[in-house]
Symmetry: C2
Subunit: 228 residues, 2 copies
C-alpha cells in the first residue's frame, strides 16, 4: 500500500500521479506497464515514485481500490427503483452500472478488464458449506435468494448461472456502448444518464427479457407465447 508520504501529498499532485498511472494501466497490461512512463507522464522524479510506492504492483493495487470505490459510487448514483431489489432488477442495476461506468470512465473499465484476465480464481469453495461460489458471490447469493423467493427455476444450477451472469455483466458494457453510438458523449459528459436513454433501455429490456425467460420459474413473463 502507498506510504504515509504519499497520503500527505497535496491532492493535486496525487491526482496527477493517479491520472498518469490510470492512463498507463489502461493502455498496457500490468506486466508491460512502465514505471518510467508513469513518472514521466506525472512529472515526478523516479526516486519520488519509490518514496510513494513499493513497486508497480503496489501502485496497481492502489488504482484498483480507486476503481472499486468509483464503481460503488456509480452504482449508488443510479436511481433506486425499489428498496429491496428482486433478482432481475438487481442484475439490471449492476449491468446498467457497468455501462455507465464504461462510458464515464473508459480507462478504469479497461484496467478492470485486464485485471479480470489475470484473476485465476474463477470460483472458490465455501469451507463451511462445501458449496462452490463463483466470483465475488454476489450473483450466487442473489440467485439462491431468487430460488427461495420462487423467482428462479429450481432446476437452475445456481453457481453456473452466477458465473454466466458475471460473464455477461463483465462483457456486455463495451458492446452496449458501441450500440448506443453517438449518445455516449452526452452520457460521458454527465448531461445524460444511460438510465434515461431510450435506446439503452430498450437494449437492456431485451437482454433482461432473455435472461429472465431463461432463469425465471414463471414462464408467464414471456413476451409471446408462440403466437403467430
Amino acid at each position: 500500500m502507498p506510504t504515509e508520504t504519499y497520503h500527505n501529498l497535496p491532492e493535486e499532485k496525487r491526482l496527477q500521479i493517479e491520472k498518469a498511472a490510470i492512463a498507463e494501466f489502461a493502455a498496457n497490461p500490468l506486466q508491460s506497464a512502465s514505471i518510467n512512463a508513469i513518472v514521466s507522464e506525472a512529472g515526478i522524479a523516479k526516486g519520488s515514485f519509490y518514496q510513494y510506492f513499493e513497486n508497480i504492483d503496489d501502485l496497481h493495487r492502489h488504482i484498483l481500490s480507486i476503481i472499486y470505490k468509483k464503481k460503488i459510487e456509480v452504482i449508488n448514483s443510479l436511481p433506486l427503483d425499489s428498496a429491496s431489489l428482486d433478482t432481475f432488477r438487481y442484475l439490471r442495476r449492476v449491468s446498467q452500472a457497468a455501462v455507465e461506468f464504461q462510458i464515464r470512465f473508459p480507462d478504469l473499465a479497461s484496467i478492470e478488464r485486464f485485471q479480470r484476465l489475470n484473476a485465476n480464481h474463477l470460483s472458490s469453495v465455501d469451507p463451511e458449506t462445501g458449496e462452490r461460489v463463483s466470483g465475488d458471490g454476489r450473483f450466487h447469493a442473489f440467485l439462491t435468494q431468487g430460488i427461495l423467493h420462487d423467482d428462479i427455476a429450481t432446476w437452475v444450477d445456481v453457481d453456473m448461472a452466477a458465473f454466466m451472469l458475471e460473464l455477461i455483466e463483465g462483457g456486455i458494457a463495451p458492446y452496449l456502448v458501441e450500440r448506443i453510438g453517438d449518445k455516449a458523449p452526452a452520457i460521458a459528459s454527465g448531461r445524460l444518464s444511460s438510465v434515461y436513454d431510450r435506446t439503452t433501455q430498450d437494449l437492456f429490456d431485451n437482454l433482461m427479457d432473455i435472461l429472465e425467460a431463461g432463469l425465471a420459474r414463471d414462464p408467464q413473463i414471456r413476451k409471446d407465447y408462440y403466437l403467430k
Copy 2:
C-alpha cells in the same frame, strides 16, 4: 507471415519453435512476450529467428493460425448428432468444442483469451445491408436462421443475443473445466471425450436449458411450468 526458409525447415525443428512460442504466448500477453525467451527455449540462435519471422507479431499471427486450425479440428472431432443442426444444438456444439479445446490445449486457449482482450472490433456493420454483426458472425447468422425457422423468439435483438452467446462461449470453458475437476486429465489424455462425461453433459444441459428458455420462441421447452 513466416518466410520460405521457415517452411523448408524440418518438421521437428518447426514444432520445437512453435512449442516454445506457444508456451511464451500462453504465459505472457503479446506486449510482454520475449523473443529472447522463445529462441532460448526453442534452442535456436536469435539470428535464426529473424530468418524465419519478420518480428514477434509475425510469429504470433502464425501461432494464431495454428490455433484456428486446431480448433476446427476439435469441432470436427465431436460426434455430429444431426446433419443440419438446429440453433441450440449448434450452440451446444461450439461450447462443447470450447471446453474440449480448453482441456486438451490449455495453452492455446490461454493465447486465445489474451487475443480476445486485444480484439477491439466487437462488431462490424455489413456494408450491404447496413446491419450490425457481432464477432465473427456465426451466432448472428444462426440466430437469424433460428428466427426464420421459428426456433427463436421474434422479439430477440439478434445481434445483442449473438454477442451474449459469444461471451458465454468464450468464457464458460475454464469454469466448466474447474467444475469437472479431476476428470479433466482423462479428457486431456484423450482417453475420454467431454461428450461422454456425465457431469459435463449435465452442466451443458443446464446451461442450454437456460439459454434455450431465454431465447426460444416456444416456452414449452421449459422443464417446469411453475409446478409446486
